[in-house]
Every structure is written in structure tokens, then in C-alpha cells.
């Protein structure tokens, strides 16, 4: 039984073929798995192990190192709010605080605190599924998220791929 659907399985094989060594494809395949499934499940890791000629423990070891790979189901929208120093001194924590409370019981939105997003020129900054939004305030941040929820803004996948 394949975790990847047919189209993605083909894509996965293409990705593996890009590299001199198959193991290099673990991260791109993990992204692909999240694009398809919204998070990185055990089944996904098992198939990645198979495709890259490694073991599931090896894939888990690699994937668990990286914060973007979600080993538990998460919301369809992942909101990453920076609170690193530049954002810290211009209101980042307040944005985070507001969003965490606002979406505490909304399973489709996962709010997380993240490290510097390389958007300090537009601090405070956040990403929604890796789309940047800068110079946000608690209220404008909420408006942005609501725009995604209502479909006014089109969200990327949980791993940040654009959706055609």
C-alpha cells in the first residue's frame, strides 16, 4: 500500500533521481508528504524510508531534527509568529499572544512561535503556511488569517507549496 498517491509517487521518484545519493531526498519527500497529507505520518516515513533505501528509524531521526516537519496532525493553516529580538521589541509577542488565545480551540489553525523569519525589516512578522506577512498587529494578523479561512486569500499547503 502506498502512502503517496500516484502523481506524488511519480514525483517522489523524480526527486530521488535528482541526487547522487537517494538518502538526500528525505527532506524533499517529507515536504511532499506534508503537501499531500498535511503532516508527516508514520506511514509517510515508512514509505520515504523505502524510497530512499534507508530505515524508518533513520527517516524519523532526520525528520525530527527539523521544526517544519509536523509529526502530529496540525491545522490546515500553520501560523508562524516570530518573537525573536527585533520582533520582540516591536510587538511580536503581543501578536503571538493574541493569536494563541484567538485560535486556541480552532483545530484548523495551528499557531506556533518561531525564530527569526528573515523579515526583521518588516517586524513584527508572521507566516501563514510560509507566506510572509509583515508589519502586523494583533488585529491585522487576525484579519489575515480570517481572509485565508474564508478563501479570500489562497493558502499554500502546510509545507508551503503553492496550490494551483
Amino acid at each position: 500500500m502506498s502512502f503517496f498517491d500516484d502523481a506524488n509517487l511519480t514525483k517522489a521518484r523524480e526527486i530521488v533521481a535528482r541526487y547522487p545519493r537517494a538518502k538526500s531526498a528525505i527532506l524533499p519527500l517529507a515536504h511532499l508528504a506534508q503537501d499531500q497529507n498535511g503532516w508527516l505520518s508514520q506511514e509517510a516515513m515508512e514509505q520515504i524510508a523505502e524510497l530512499t533505501a534507508t530505515t524508518p528509524a533513520d527517516v524519523l531521526g532526520t525528520c525530527s531534527f527539523y521544526t517544519m516537519l509536523k509529526r502530529r496532525p496540525c491545522g490546515k493553516l500553520v501560523v508562524s509568529v516570530c518573537t525573536n529580538v527585533t520582533c520582540l521589541v516591536v510587538g511580536g509577542p503581543e501578536v503571538l499572544d493574541h493569536l494563541e488565545h484567538r485560535y486556541a480551540s480552532e483545530p484548523d489553525v495551528t499557531v506556533e512561535e518561531v525564530e527569526c523569519l528573515a523579515a526583521c525589516g518588516g517586524a513584527p512578522a508572521l507566516q501563514v503556511n510560509y507566506e510572509f506577512h509583515e508589519r502586523v498587529s494583533p488585529s491585522s494578523a487576525e484579519e489575515i488569517i480570517e481572509a485565508y479561512r474564508s478563501g479570500t486569500l489562497r493558502a499554500r499547503t502546510v509545507s508551503g507549496a503553492s496550490v494551483a
Binding site: L69, L88, G121, L153
Partner: protein, 453 residues
Amino acid sequence: MPDLTPNGATGGTSGGTGVEETRIVTRRLHDRVDDSWTLDGSLASGGYEVLRAVLAKGDAADVQEQVKLSGLRGRGGAGFPTAQKWSFLPPNSFPRYLVVNADEGEPSTFKDRMLLELDPHQLIEGITIASYAVQCNLAFVYVRGEFALGHERLTRAIDDARGKGFLGKNILGSGFDCEIVVHRGAGAYICGEETALLESLEGERGMPRIRPPFPAIEGLYAKPTVVNNVETLSTVPHIMQMGGEEYAKLGVNRSTGTRIFSVSGHVNKPGNYEVELGMSFRDLLYGLAGGIREDRKIKFFIPGGASSQWLTGSDEHLDAPLDMDFVQQTFGVMLGSGAVMVFDETVDPVLVAWRLAKFFAHESCGKCTPCREGTGWVEKVLYRMSQGLGRPQDLDLLVSVGSNISPGLVNAPFVQTTICPLGPSAVSCVASIDKFFRDEVLTRLSNDAGVHA
């Protein structure tokens, strides 16, 4: 549409101050705000002309020579001379790889993201020329995972460039083949460290390698490898266009040319500014970045990304030139990744120190005992202190713990008990509050509630 204007790309000449940017690497993205990232935009503004000329000339050694003459030093943080790095590749050992470091994660640095999003073709041209120079046929770009748009635009640009014969087999009829694979990270600052990056690219946990062997000898897949930063490679076509000697006329001393500085924090006009090296911090912060909000004073600023030790708003510090060697030798700080974070007098330095320590503790790969355990310890103590739960001995404790990670707490180049400089970077903040705010902090600690409050 979300606001996709890259922060700071719109910075520029500052009204009335007479201080100006020197735009070389950022020229196109200012000139062609609407399409700088597209193939058309690139071609319309001289894109790939240098590549064509270099390949037509057919002299790889000349590229190396021009880069050497230019005095170009790496823009990723360590400032290592680029031509020298290339020269370490053992002759006659193939395959070899060029790996582009686009992992930009150093807090407050946001220049590479801009270059990826707004001028990917310039980078591709730089990669192709550099690959030609070092005789590599396969290059990898390791793009920070969070840069979804940058990744997308770069991938698209590579396809477009290949379509025009700027990449792939027999580029522009020269017989030279070069392919670029874009590899997306997945959220780990340490993967910006070059050997951790290589591990990550090999599908491993991003843990730095023991050196030697250095990547030039045994890098990616144990093959000779050059790792260069995005800005470094984006500069290469311009060096080839200007000629190395001409480029070296820009800048000061061994800090030649221009660099992009990412200015953030309490300045009125945060953003990326490309300036000739040698300009003073004062001109950068006041002349270009518009001075401090509400005309406040600078309490302290961090001159080279989160890893650097700090400077203050004193004249001595503000008048110092943007010269990598000067600031290192004079103040023991580094220009690092070219980020300048500015904090006005309302800011609690302990809070900033804690947040930086938290960052490093979160990003420590966990390989070295002092960094794995020490960064967490420092973070916990600083957190208590920032919350008014300090004890009088805590500052000295921090300095002592810090010294066990970085003996003597010296910055740039670090002395370290760890494999990579992340561990010592984590205690730059400790050294800095001890250096500049010791009295203030000690006074506070003596009034604090202590651990068990």
C-alpha cells in the same frame, strides 16, 4: 494578495543626509520593481551577459584570478576570502560540487531572502560562472525551508534559464555543462553552518561535522566541495563585469566592495542597504536607516547578527567603520552576516539577552555537550533574571558557564569547547551584558526575588 514587497528593498538614498547606497548587487531589484525576478526582467537589464562573455573567453583560471584580485570575502558570516576557498579544491579530483548557502537564519539577517525572491537570475548567473571557474558540473542551492516564495521563484528561474541555454548541457555552446538542484531545508538554523548544511543535504540530521577534513577536500558525498553564500555568488558576475581590480577599489583595507546590511529594530527606516564597506555605523543607521524612532538614543546595537557581541550608542562605536577587521580587532565584535539590530533606551538588555539565548538553545543541534546543555542552562538563568527572579550571583554564574562553552568569552574568532561556533555565539549576549551593563544588572539582581519566589 498578501503584501509581497520584500522588506527594505525599497530603502535607498536618505533624504537630505547626503549618505548614499552603492547599489551593485541590488541594482536590478531597485530598477525593475515589477519584474526583477523574471527572466524577461533579468534579460532586459543585462542578465546573463557576463556569463556569455566569460564562456566566450573560455578562461576558467581568469575567473579565479579576477575574484582573487577583487578581494571578495564571503558574505555568509565568516568573511573568508572566496578565491582562496576555491583554490583549496584538490586538482584533478572529480566530481566536485558547489553548494550555495541560502539558509539565511541568523536573526535579523534578511538580505539573502531578498536576493532569492527578487533577483534569482543574478544568483543563477553567479553560480554558473563560479561553477565554471572551479570546474563543477552540479551545484546545489540549499534554501531555507521557510522561504516558500524564494524557493518557488528560484526553481522557476532555473527552469527558465535552462530553457534559454544558460544552464544544462553545453551552455551557450561552450561545451560546459552545469545543473543546479534546489534543496529546501525544513527549519533548522544550524543548517546554515556549512558542514551541517552538507549533512542536511545528504539527508541526515543537520549536525556539524568535525574538521578536518574540510569541505574543500571531503564535502558533499565526501567529494571536494565549495560552500558559498547567496550574496557572495550574486556578487561574482559584477566582479567579472567590472574586473577584479576595479571592484577592489571599492571598500576599505581588506574589506573590499559593497555589502548589503540588514538594518532592523528601532530605526525609522529598517531595511536592506547596500553600501560601500568603510562607511560608518552612524551613516548607516542615521544617514540611511533614518535614525532612531522618536529621536531616542541607541542603548546598544548588535552589529553582525545575533552571534556577534554588542556595541553601544557611544560615539566611539557609532563612528567605527564597516570594516570586518577593524571592528574585530578594536572591539572584538564581528560584521558577521551584515545584520544590524538597533535597540533604543527603552529596551531591557537582559530581556534581549534571554531571547537570544532562547534562540540558540532552541537551535543547538545537540551534538556538543557544552552547547547542548550550556545553552539551555544560560537560557533558564536569563529567563529568571528577565522576570525579576535573579540572584546576586547569577551574572557571574552566567559568565562562568559561558566560559565553559567559550573560554575567555572572546568573540570573532571564537575560542570554543564546541565543534561549531553556535555554542559560543549563544554566550555573546552574556559577555555583552557583563561588559556594558554589569552595574545596572547587578543592582537589579540585588533587588530581585531569587529563584524560589
